[in-house]
């Protein structure tokens, strides 16, 4: 047999039909659903008198709209948000799919809940009406975001119409230096490729620095594959993956576990597999980074200065002018002199227990700057419970952080957690687009420890000074 990549293997195992021009029906093993991109899809099913083909493989959880304050048990105040969450409630019940309602401790961000509950397993195809579905690629599962029409298509047929993407290998060699995290890896890769560099590709991340990451860190890396334009990000499963999965509520057990493990161990790219593109980055060249503009590719080491439009070429010159104006930054200013007023730690990029532990490591015994608005939003109710059990919540509260309930929160500000015009936030989320965290709000993407450091000093800060 000719050598193949991990992507080739998962793809081949899921093609249910192929036409002459290469258009395939890809079978979908897990379909995750949230309240924002699904109502029109369920409505479409109703209108056509169709059912959900595989309710057992379909999992729903509200996350984007839900408030993260304790009063949410009394209902959602914003009428439109409430209607969306109620629609999901009704759709989940009517169509008999798995469901974690707002008051269930397992509720949280869909991409955190899936792996946590053992829905996401190596070698699977996973889709969700959300671009950050790439997160699940950390398990060696082919996971991508889809639009609402495709949500309806998967609900009705359990397949997706797809053509195969190209293979890209991103290798991070060697070991990370202290203070450098999975977030810095993924942002640095985007800085390297640009936000369109991955278009048409599925990326497999590999190399020593990736192997060394925990499952949480790997999820952070894959989460932002979409910001590099890729259809999906993948990491080959290994012992860490199997250890993480074992014993989770929906992971296989007994003889099925053994059978699954046997297959999972074959899921890697052959040594001599052909790649359409290869990128190699040395781990030691990666510094703690921060974004200065309004695209995730606008990334620089924290030790750098704000760039000038003249540092760029082509269409990027105008985009940088616009970004600097929006961000209210002057070229040449050291990034460490940029003052912030808000810190957000959370999201499907960095809302897992390890992220919270890392932030707590910096915040322990320290206080946030006076006047700073700082919040930690755990990625799920279970992450929150674990952080409380480990004493992390006390550290956050003592430092002056707000300790919220699970949801997407200020990552996209569809719930009441929003920036006011002109406010500047160090955020652990994944997008710094104009208005992303609230109209006129300014976002600097960073790792959890960099966010914690910024909360203490009130400006973008090199966390290595605090280690």
């Amino acid at each position: 047999m000719s050598p193949t990549t991990l992507y080739d293997k998962i793809w081949d195992a899921h093609v249910a039909d192929e036409t002459a021009d290469g258009t395939c029906l890809l079978y979908i093993d897990r379909h995750l659903v949230h309240e924002v991109t699904s109502p029109q899809a369920f409505e479409g099913l109703r209108m056509a008198g169709r059912k959900v083909r595989s309710p057992d493989k379909t999992i729903a959880v509200p996350d984007h709209n839900v408030p993260t304050t304790p009063d949410r048990v009394n209902g959602i105040e914003n009428e439109q948000s409430r209607i969306q969450v109620e629609a999901l409630d009704k759709n989940a019940r009517d169509f008999g799919i798995h469901y974690y309602p707002v008051d269930d401790i397992r509720q949280g961000i869909v991409h955190i809940v899936g792996p946590e509950q053992g829905w996401t397993l190596p070698g699977m195809t996973v889709v969700c009406g959300d671009s950050h579905t790439a997160t699940h690629g950390a398990f060696g599962s082919l996971a991508h975001g889809i639009g609402t029409s495709e949500v309806e298509h998967v609900l009705a047929t359990q397949t997706l119409i797809q053509k195969k993407s190209k293979n890209m290998k991103v290798e991070i060699t060697g070991k990370l230096l202290p203070g450098v995290t999975a977030k810095d890896i993924t942002l640095s890769v985007i800085g390297h490729t640009g936000t369109a560099g991955g278009t048409g590709y599925v990326i497999e991340y590999c190399g020593e620095a990736i192997r060394d990451l925990s499952m949480e860190g790997r999820m952070t890396v894959c989460n932002m594959a979409i910001e590099g334009g890729a259809r999906a990000g993948l990491i080959a499963p290994d012992q860490k993956t199997f250890d993480y999965v074992m014993g989770r509520p929906h992971a296989p057990k007994g003889a099925q576990w053994e059978a699954a493990l046997t297959w999972w161990k074959t899921l890697y790219s052959d040594d001599d597999a052909a790649w359409d593109q290869v990128i190699t980055i040395k781990a030691e060249d990666i510094a703690p980074v921060v974004t200065w503009g309004t695209s995730p590719e606008d990334v620089l080491p924290i030790t750098a200065n704000v760039p000038a439009p003249s540092d760029f070429e082509g269409g990027k010159v105008e985009a940088v002018e616009r970004a600097l104006d929006y961000m209210d930054l002057t070229p040449g200013t050291p990034l460490t002199e940029v003052e912030i007023d808000t810190v957000f730690i959370g999201s499907c990029t960095n809302g897992r227990i390890e992220d919270l532990r890392a932030a707590a490591g910096i915040l322990k015994g320290r206080k946030i700057k006076e006047g700073m608005r700082a919040m930690i939003v755990p990625g799920s109710g279970l992450v929150r419970a674990q952080a409380e059990e480990e004493g992390l919540a006390e550290i956050f509260l003592a430092a002056g952080f707000e300790w919220r309930l699970a949801g997407c929160s200020m990552c996209l500000a569809m719930n009441p957690d929003q920036l006011e015009p002109g406010e500047r936030c160090a955020a652990t989320s994944n997008r710094n687009f104009e208005g992303r965290q609230g109209r006129g709000g300014r976002t600097h993407l960073v790792s959890p420890i960099m966010a914690a450091a910024a909360a203490i000093t009130g400006r973008l800060t090199d966390v290595r000074e605090m280690l």
């Binding site: 249910a16 039909d17 029906l25 079978y27 029109q40 169709r50 309806e152 298509h153 699954a260 297959w263």
Partner: protein
């Protein structure tokens, strides 16, 4: 789905690169449970000021571009989220075709599901089309899907590539689900085989 065969209409230039889906339709408008009515909020933050007045310098607010049917845009159009609200808003505004050097993957695919034709052209061609679009209302661009050509107001013709399956679906206005339902036997067969090979799924 609406068919797309041939259109001739006003083209608007938006040379900015990396126009993301948050710009196309801000999240505020994702709270709807319908597909319709989003056109007034297309490019909302660029289009209106804080008091909800139109910004006169934004291209689609200019009298010449009120009836835009073709958008000629900068690189990497539609990056960001998977929200189908972006093509819904574009369509509701009346735009049926977007031309750029590159599109984000999910947005590209979402367009086809909604009767919108996204066309990838080389940089030199997009530059010519941007220039043509600057002429405003009097310059009408034609897009012919059957022939796979874009014709400028001066009659200059540029061919484009399109996936044959997607072209067929757009020309006929075919609904994906209906077509896949015709292949249900293949899906049943796959499921039967997979349940033996990977029973834990």
């Amino acid at each position: 789905m609406d068919k797309f065969t041939k259109i001739t209409g006003v083209a608007a230039p938006m040379p900015l690169i990396n126009i993301d889906t948050d710009m196309i339709i801000p999240k505020l408008f994702l709270k709807t449970i319908k597909r319709s009515g989003l056109g007034v909020n297309l490019f909302d933050e660029m289009r209106y000021d804080d008091d909800r007045n139109e910004r006169p310098d934004f291209v689609l607010n200019k009298p010449a571009y009120r009836n835009t049917e073709v958008l000629v845009a900068g690189d990497n159009f539609g990056c960001g989220s998977s929200r189908e609200h972006a093509p819904w808003a574009i369509k509701d505004f009346g735009i049926r075709c977007v031309i750029s050097t590159s599109f984000a993957d999910i947005f590209f695919s979402n367009c086809f599901k909604n009767g919108i034709l996204p066309i990838v052209m080389p940089k030199e061609v997009v530059d010519v089309l941007l220039k043509d679009a600057e002429k405003g209302e009097n310059a009408r661009m034609s897009v012919d899907l059957e022939a796979q050509t874009v014709t400028t107001s001066d009659g200059e013709v540029f061919p484009f590539e399109v996936d044959s399956f997607k072209k067929h679906c757009l020309l006929e206005g075919l609904d994906d689900i209906g077509q896949t339902m015709n292949k249900i036997a293949a899906i049943d067969g796959f499921e039967a085989k997979a349940s033996v090979e990977r029973p834990w799924v």
